[in-house]
Protein backbone atom coordinates (compact mmCIF):
# COMPACT_ATOMS: atom_id res chain seq x y z
CA UNK A 1 0.00 0.00 0.00
CA UNK A 2 1.21 3.53 -0.78
CA UNK A 3 2.15 5.96 2.01
CA UNK A 4 -0.35 8.70 1.24
CA UNK A 5 -3.93 7.96 2.36
CA UNK A 6 -5.26 9.47 -0.86
CA UNK A 7 -3.18 7.11 -2.98
CA UNK A 8 -4.11 4.19 -0.74
CA UNK A 9 -7.83 4.95 -1.12
CA UNK A 10 -7.42 5.23 -4.89
CA UNK A 11 -5.59 1.93 -5.07
CA UNK A 12 -8.24 0.19 -2.97
CA UNK A 13 -10.86 1.22 -5.50
CA UNK A 14 -8.71 0.53 -8.55
CA UNK A 15 -7.42 -2.94 -7.65
CA UNK A 16 -10.72 -4.86 -8.02
CA UNK A 17 -11.53 -3.31 -11.41
CA UNK A 18 -8.05 -3.38 -12.89
CA UNK A 19 -8.75 -6.62 -14.76
CA UNK A 20 -11.82 -5.11 -16.43
CA UNK A 21 -9.98 -1.91 -17.25
CA UNK A 22 -7.08 -3.79 -18.80
CA UNK A 23 -9.47 -6.04 -20.74
CA UNK A 24 -11.24 -3.03 -22.23
CA UNK A 25 -7.91 -1.29 -22.92
CA UNK A 26 -6.63 -4.39 -24.71
CA UNK A 27 -9.69 -4.55 -26.97
CA UNK A 28 -9.45 -0.84 -27.72
CA UNK A 29 -5.75 -0.82 -28.55
CA UNK A 30 -5.35 -4.38 -29.82
CA UNK A 31 -1.93 -4.66 -28.19
CA UNK A 32 -0.77 -5.75 -24.72
CA UNK A 33 1.88 -3.07 -24.29
CA UNK A 34 -0.39 -0.30 -25.55
CA UNK A 35 -3.12 -1.54 -23.23
CA UNK A 36 -0.78 -1.43 -20.25
CA UNK A 37 0.30 2.07 -21.25
CA UNK A 38 -3.28 3.22 -21.60
CA UNK A 39 -4.31 1.88 -18.18
CA UNK A 40 -1.30 3.56 -16.57
CA UNK A 41 -2.07 6.88 -18.23
CA UNK A 42 -5.70 6.61 -17.25
CA UNK A 43 -4.73 5.82 -13.66
CA UNK A 44 -2.52 8.92 -13.47
CA UNK A 45 -5.22 11.05 -15.00
CA UNK A 46 -7.92 9.65 -12.75
CA UNK A 47 -5.73 10.07 -9.68
CA UNK A 48 -5.16 13.74 -10.56
CA UNK A 49 -8.93 14.22 -10.78
CA UNK A 50 -9.75 11.96 -7.83
CA UNK A 51 -11.40 14.84 -5.90
CA UNK A 52 -14.19 14.90 -8.45
CA UNK A 53 -15.08 11.24 -7.83
CA UNK A 54 -18.13 10.91 -5.59
CA UNK A 55 -17.47 8.00 -3.21
CA UNK A 56 -21.04 6.68 -3.26
CA UNK A 57 -20.96 6.32 -7.07
CA UNK A 58 -19.62 3.61 -9.33
CA UNK A 59 -15.82 3.76 -9.50
CA UNK A 60 -15.56 1.35 -12.42
CA UNK A 61 -17.74 3.50 -14.69
CA UNK A 62 -15.91 6.61 -13.56
CA UNK A 63 -12.52 5.05 -14.28
CA UNK A 64 -13.59 3.61 -17.64
CA UNK A 65 -14.79 7.05 -18.61
CA UNK A 66 -11.30 8.41 -17.96
CA UNK A 67 -9.74 5.49 -19.82
CA UNK A 68 -11.97 5.84 -22.89
CA UNK A 69 -11.32 9.58 -22.90
CA UNK A 70 -7.57 8.92 -22.83
CA UNK A 71 -7.85 6.39 -25.62
CA UNK A 72 -9.91 8.62 -27.91
CA UNK A 73 -7.62 11.60 -27.33
CA UNK A 74 -4.56 9.50 -28.07
CA UNK A 75 -6.13 8.03 -31.19
CA UNK A 76 -7.21 11.44 -32.45
CA UNK A 77 -3.91 13.19 -31.82
CA UNK A 78 -1.81 10.35 -33.20
CA UNK A 79 -4.28 9.75 -36.07
CA UNK A 80 -2.81 6.31 -36.48
CA UNK A 81 -5.78 5.28 -38.52
CA UNK A 82 -8.23 7.18 -40.68
CA UNK A 83 -11.29 7.95 -38.58
CA UNK A 84 -13.71 8.31 -41.44
CA UNK A 85 -16.87 6.40 -40.78
CA UNK A 86 -17.66 4.12 -43.71
CA UNK A 87 -20.63 5.25 -45.74
CA UNK A 88 -21.68 1.68 -46.28
CA UNK A 89 -22.60 -0.15 -43.07
CA UNK A 90 -23.06 -3.40 -44.91
CA UNK A 91 -26.33 -5.04 -45.73
CA UNK A 92 -28.96 -5.76 -43.13
CA UNK A 93 -28.71 -9.22 -41.55
CA UNK A 94 -25.51 -9.87 -43.49
CA UNK A 95 -24.41 -12.99 -41.63
CA UNK A 96 -27.94 -14.36 -41.32
CA UNK A 97 -28.38 -14.05 -45.07
CA UNK A 98 -24.93 -15.52 -45.67
CA UNK A 99 -25.81 -18.52 -43.50
CA UNK A 100 -29.03 -18.90 -45.43
CA UNK A 101 -27.24 -18.68 -48.80
CA UNK A 102 -24.77 -21.31 -47.65
CA UNK A 103 -27.66 -23.60 -46.85
CA UNK A 104 -26.96 -23.69 -43.13
CA UNK A 105 -30.61 -23.20 -42.26
CA UNK A 106 -31.73 -26.39 -43.92
CA UNK A 107 -29.18 -28.81 -42.56
CA UNK A 108 -30.56 -29.21 -39.10
CA UNK A 109 -27.52 -27.44 -37.72
CA UNK A 110 -27.65 -24.44 -35.48
CA UNK A 111 -26.77 -21.91 -38.18
CA UNK A 112 -25.12 -19.41 -35.81
CA UNK A 113 -23.02 -22.21 -34.27
CA UNK A 114 -22.01 -23.46 -37.70
CA UNK A 115 -20.97 -19.97 -38.72
CA UNK A 116 -19.21 -19.21 -35.45
CA UNK A 117 -17.20 -22.41 -35.78
CA UNK A 118 -15.36 -20.57 -38.59
CA UNK A 119 -14.71 -17.45 -36.52
CA UNK A 120 -11.94 -17.98 -34.00
CA UNK A 121 -11.02 -15.50 -31.26
CA UNK A 122 -8.31 -14.01 -33.42
CA UNK A 123 -10.71 -13.27 -36.27
CA UNK A 124 -13.29 -11.70 -33.95
CA UNK A 125 -10.62 -9.51 -32.33
CA UNK A 126 -9.36 -8.46 -35.77
CA UNK A 127 -12.89 -7.59 -36.91
CA UNK A 128 -13.47 -5.51 -33.79
CA UNK A 129 -10.18 -3.78 -34.51
CA UNK A 130 -11.47 -2.80 -37.95
CA UNK A 131 -14.23 -0.63 -36.50
CA UNK A 132 -13.70 3.14 -36.32
CA UNK A 133 -12.79 4.18 -32.75
CA UNK A 134 -16.17 5.59 -31.71
CA UNK A 135 -17.88 2.39 -32.79
CA UNK A 136 -15.22 0.10 -31.34
CA UNK A 137 -15.60 1.77 -27.95
CA UNK A 138 -19.36 1.16 -27.71
CA UNK A 139 -19.08 -2.35 -29.15
CA UNK A 140 -16.34 -3.23 -26.64
CA UNK A 141 -18.29 -1.91 -23.66
CA UNK A 142 -21.36 -3.80 -24.84
CA UNK A 143 -19.71 -7.10 -25.74
CA UNK A 144 -17.02 -7.29 -23.09
CA UNK A 145 -18.65 -5.54 -20.15
CA UNK A 146 -22.29 -6.20 -21.11
CA UNK A 147 -23.17 -2.61 -20.31
CA UNK A 148 -26.51 -0.88 -20.86
CA UNK A 149 -27.01 2.12 -23.16
CA UNK A 150 -27.19 4.32 -20.10
CA UNK A 151 -23.89 3.12 -18.64
CA UNK A 152 -22.17 3.42 -22.03
CA UNK A 153 -23.67 6.90 -22.52
CA UNK A 154 -22.14 7.97 -19.23
CA UNK A 155 -18.73 6.60 -20.17
CA UNK A 156 -18.54 8.02 -23.68
CA UNK A 157 -20.29 11.27 -22.68
CA UNK A 158 -23.00 11.03 -25.33
CA UNK A 159 -26.79 11.03 -25.21
CA UNK A 160 -28.38 7.59 -24.85
CA UNK A 161 -29.89 7.91 -28.35
CA UNK A 162 -26.44 8.38 -29.85
CA UNK A 163 -25.16 5.27 -28.08
CA UNK A 164 -28.14 3.31 -29.32
CA UNK A 165 -27.65 4.24 -32.97
CA UNK A 166 -23.88 3.85 -32.70
CA UNK A 167 -24.26 0.38 -31.25
CA UNK A 168 -26.73 -0.64 -33.94
CA UNK A 169 -24.34 0.54 -36.65
CA UNK A 170 -21.40 -1.05 -34.86
CA UNK A 171 -23.22 -4.39 -34.99
CA UNK A 172 -23.66 -4.11 -38.76
CA UNK A 173 -20.11 -2.94 -39.30
CA UNK A 174 -18.81 -5.79 -37.17
CA UNK A 175 -20.76 -8.36 -39.19
CA UNK A 176 -19.40 -6.84 -42.38
CA UNK A 177 -15.81 -6.90 -41.06
CA UNK A 178 -16.20 -10.49 -39.82
CA UNK A 179 -17.50 -11.65 -43.17
CA UNK A 180 -14.83 -9.84 -45.18
CA UNK A 181 -11.99 -11.10 -42.99
CA UNK A 182 -13.36 -14.63 -43.02
CA UNK A 183 -13.52 -14.52 -46.81
CA UNK A 184 -10.02 -13.09 -47.10
CA UNK A 185 -8.78 -15.95 -44.97
CA UNK A 186 -10.72 -18.47 -47.01
CA UNK A 187 -12.82 -19.57 -44.04
CA UNK A 188 -16.24 -19.23 -45.56
CA UNK A 189 -15.95 -20.56 -49.07
CA UNK A 190 -18.49 -23.12 -50.11
CA UNK A 191 -15.94 -25.96 -49.88
CA UNK A 192 -15.22 -25.19 -46.26
CA UNK A 193 -18.85 -25.44 -45.39
CA UNK A 194 -19.01 -28.86 -46.97
CA UNK A 195 -15.97 -30.13 -45.12
CA UNK A 196 -17.28 -28.48 -41.95
CA UNK A 197 -20.26 -30.76 -42.13
CA UNK A 198 -18.29 -33.86 -41.34
CA UNK A 199 -16.22 -32.29 -38.54
Amino acid sequence: MPDSPRAAQFETLLAPILGSAYGVAFRLTGDRDDAQDLVQDAALRAFAAFETFEPQTHFKAWFLRVLVNCHLNRARSASRRPQTVPLDDGEDALLFEAARREGLMARGLDPADALLARFDADLVAAALGELPDDFRVVATLFLLEEMSYEDIAHIVECPVGTVRSRLHRARKLLQKALWELARERGLVEAQNWKSGRSE
Binding site: S4, W62, N69, C70, F96, L174
Partner: protein, 144 residues
Protein backbone atom coordinates in the same frame (compact mmCIF):
# COMPACT_ATOMS: atom_id res chain seq x y z
CA UNK B 1 -61.24 -6.46 -26.72
CA UNK B 2 -58.00 -5.56 -25.02
CA UNK B 3 -58.24 -8.27 -22.39
CA UNK B 4 -59.46 -10.71 -24.95
CA UNK B 5 -56.28 -10.32 -27.00
CA UNK B 6 -54.03 -10.43 -23.94
CA UNK B 7 -55.42 -13.70 -22.58
CA UNK B 8 -53.71 -16.99 -23.34
CA UNK B 9 -56.04 -19.33 -25.22
CA UNK B 10 -53.48 -21.81 -26.50
CA UNK B 11 -54.15 -22.93 -30.07
CA UNK B 12 -57.55 -21.29 -30.16
CA UNK B 13 -55.94 -18.10 -28.93
CA UNK B 14 -53.40 -18.23 -31.73
CA UNK B 15 -56.21 -18.49 -34.25
CA UNK B 16 -57.97 -15.51 -32.74
CA UNK B 17 -54.72 -13.57 -32.77
CA UNK B 18 -54.31 -14.38 -36.45
CA UNK B 19 -57.75 -12.99 -37.10
CA UNK B 20 -56.79 -9.87 -35.21
CA UNK B 21 -53.66 -9.61 -37.29
CA UNK B 22 -55.62 -9.80 -40.52
CA UNK B 23 -58.07 -7.20 -39.22
CA UNK B 24 -55.23 -5.05 -38.06
CA UNK B 25 -53.45 -5.16 -41.41
CA UNK B 26 -56.69 -4.18 -43.05
CA UNK B 27 -57.13 -1.22 -40.74
CA UNK B 28 -53.54 -0.04 -40.78
CA UNK B 29 -53.38 -0.12 -44.56
CA UNK B 30 -56.77 1.30 -45.26
CA UNK B 31 -57.60 3.56 -42.36
CA UNK B 32 -54.72 4.46 -40.13
CA UNK B 33 -51.94 4.62 -42.75
CA UNK B 34 -49.24 4.37 -40.13
CA UNK B 35 -50.66 7.07 -37.88
CA UNK B 36 -51.43 5.88 -34.38
CA UNK B 37 -50.04 2.55 -35.49
CA UNK B 38 -48.10 2.01 -32.25
CA UNK B 39 -51.22 2.61 -30.18
CA UNK B 40 -53.10 0.09 -32.24
CA UNK B 41 -50.30 -2.45 -31.91
CA UNK B 42 -50.40 -2.17 -28.13
CA UNK B 43 -54.15 -2.49 -28.14
CA UNK B 44 -54.18 -5.71 -30.13
CA UNK B 45 -50.96 -7.02 -28.66
CA UNK B 46 -49.67 -8.32 -32.00
CA UNK B 47 -46.66 -7.13 -33.94
CA UNK B 48 -46.08 -7.50 -37.66
CA UNK B 49 -42.80 -9.04 -38.89
CA UNK B 50 -41.50 -5.60 -39.79
CA UNK B 51 -42.30 -4.22 -36.37
CA UNK B 52 -40.72 -7.22 -34.69
CA UNK B 53 -37.48 -6.97 -36.68
CA UNK B 54 -37.40 -3.21 -35.94
CA UNK B 55 -37.09 -4.21 -32.26
CA UNK B 56 -34.32 -6.75 -32.83
CA UNK B 57 -31.36 -4.52 -31.96
CA UNK B 58 -32.94 -3.19 -28.78
CA UNK B 59 -33.90 -6.77 -27.88
CA UNK B 60 -30.29 -7.94 -28.28
CA UNK B 61 -29.10 -4.96 -26.26
CA UNK B 62 -31.62 -5.87 -23.53
CA UNK B 63 -33.14 -2.42 -23.78
CA UNK B 64 -36.77 -3.33 -24.49
CA UNK B 65 -39.36 -2.74 -21.81
CA UNK B 66 -40.92 -5.89 -20.32
CA UNK B 67 -44.13 -5.11 -22.21
CA UNK B 68 -42.24 -4.88 -25.50
CA UNK B 69 -40.39 -8.12 -24.76
CA UNK B 70 -43.77 -9.82 -24.28
CA UNK B 71 -44.99 -8.42 -27.60
CA UNK B 72 -41.88 -9.69 -29.37
CA UNK B 73 -42.09 -13.10 -27.68
CA UNK B 74 -45.70 -13.43 -28.74
CA UNK B 75 -44.77 -12.78 -32.37
CA UNK B 76 -41.83 -15.19 -32.23
CA UNK B 77 -44.14 -17.93 -30.99
CA UNK B 78 -46.23 -17.78 -34.14
CA UNK B 79 -43.64 -16.69 -36.72
CA UNK B 80 -40.95 -19.21 -37.58
CA UNK B 81 -38.99 -16.82 -39.83
CA UNK B 82 -38.59 -14.08 -37.23
CA UNK B 83 -37.90 -16.68 -34.53
CA UNK B 84 -35.02 -18.03 -36.63
CA UNK B 85 -33.58 -14.57 -37.14
CA UNK B 86 -33.80 -13.67 -33.43
CA UNK B 87 -32.25 -16.99 -32.39
CA UNK B 88 -29.44 -16.50 -34.90
CA UNK B 89 -28.58 -12.95 -33.84
CA UNK B 90 -28.81 -13.80 -30.14
CA UNK B 91 -26.49 -16.78 -30.53
CA UNK B 92 -24.12 -14.66 -32.62
CA UNK B 93 -23.77 -12.06 -29.86
CA UNK B 94 -23.21 -14.81 -27.29
CA UNK B 95 -20.62 -16.48 -29.53
CA UNK B 96 -18.76 -13.22 -30.09
CA UNK B 97 -18.73 -12.62 -26.32
CA UNK B 98 -17.25 -16.07 -25.71
CA UNK B 99 -14.50 -15.37 -28.24
CA UNK B 100 -13.69 -11.98 -26.72
CA UNK B 101 -12.97 -13.44 -23.31
CA UNK B 102 -11.05 -11.14 -21.03
CA UNK B 103 -7.28 -10.99 -21.29
CA UNK B 104 -5.52 -11.18 -17.92
CA UNK B 105 -3.80 -8.00 -16.79
CA UNK B 106 -0.02 -8.32 -16.23
CA UNK B 107 0.71 -9.33 -12.64
CA UNK B 108 2.87 -6.29 -11.98
CA UNK B 109 0.50 -3.68 -13.43
CA UNK B 110 -0.84 -2.52 -10.07
CA UNK B 111 2.69 -2.24 -8.73
CA UNK B 112 3.71 -0.12 -11.75
CA UNK B 113 0.70 2.13 -11.27
CA UNK B 114 1.51 2.50 -7.57
CA UNK B 115 5.03 3.61 -8.44
CA UNK B 116 3.85 6.16 -10.98
CA UNK B 117 1.22 7.51 -8.59
CA UNK B 118 3.83 7.98 -5.90
CA UNK B 119 6.06 9.75 -8.39
CA UNK B 120 3.12 11.94 -9.42
CA UNK B 121 2.37 12.80 -5.78
CA UNK B 122 5.94 13.86 -5.04
CA UNK B 123 6.44 15.56 -8.40
CA UNK B 124 3.06 17.27 -8.58
CA UNK B 125 4.11 20.29 -6.53
CA UNK B 126 7.14 21.12 -8.65
CA UNK B 127 5.97 20.13 -12.16
CA UNK B 128 2.21 20.18 -12.05
CA UNK B 129 0.38 17.14 -13.31
CA UNK B 130 0.21 16.92 -17.01
CA UNK B 131 -0.24 14.18 -19.49
CA UNK B 132 -0.54 15.75 -22.90
CA UNK B 133 -1.84 12.59 -24.55
CA UNK B 134 -4.87 12.36 -22.36
CA UNK B 135 -6.04 15.91 -22.91
CA UNK B 136 -8.46 17.63 -20.60
CA UNK B 137 -10.94 15.51 -18.73
CA UNK B 138 -14.24 17.31 -18.72
CA UNK B 139 -16.78 16.93 -15.98
CA UNK B 140 -15.66 14.01 -13.89
CA UNK B 141 -18.79 13.62 -11.85
CA UNK B 142 -19.55 9.94 -11.76
CA UNK B 143 -23.25 9.45 -11.58
CA UNK B 144 -23.73 5.72 -11.83
Amino acid sequence: MHQFAQADFGVCGEFIRCLFRVARNFFTRGVLRGQKNEEFVMLLGILSCKETIARLDDYLDRELSPQEVRLVARHLKICHQCAKRFAFETELVEGLRRRLHRIEAPADLLEKIRTSLEAAETGAASHGNSNPQCGVLKDNQGSL
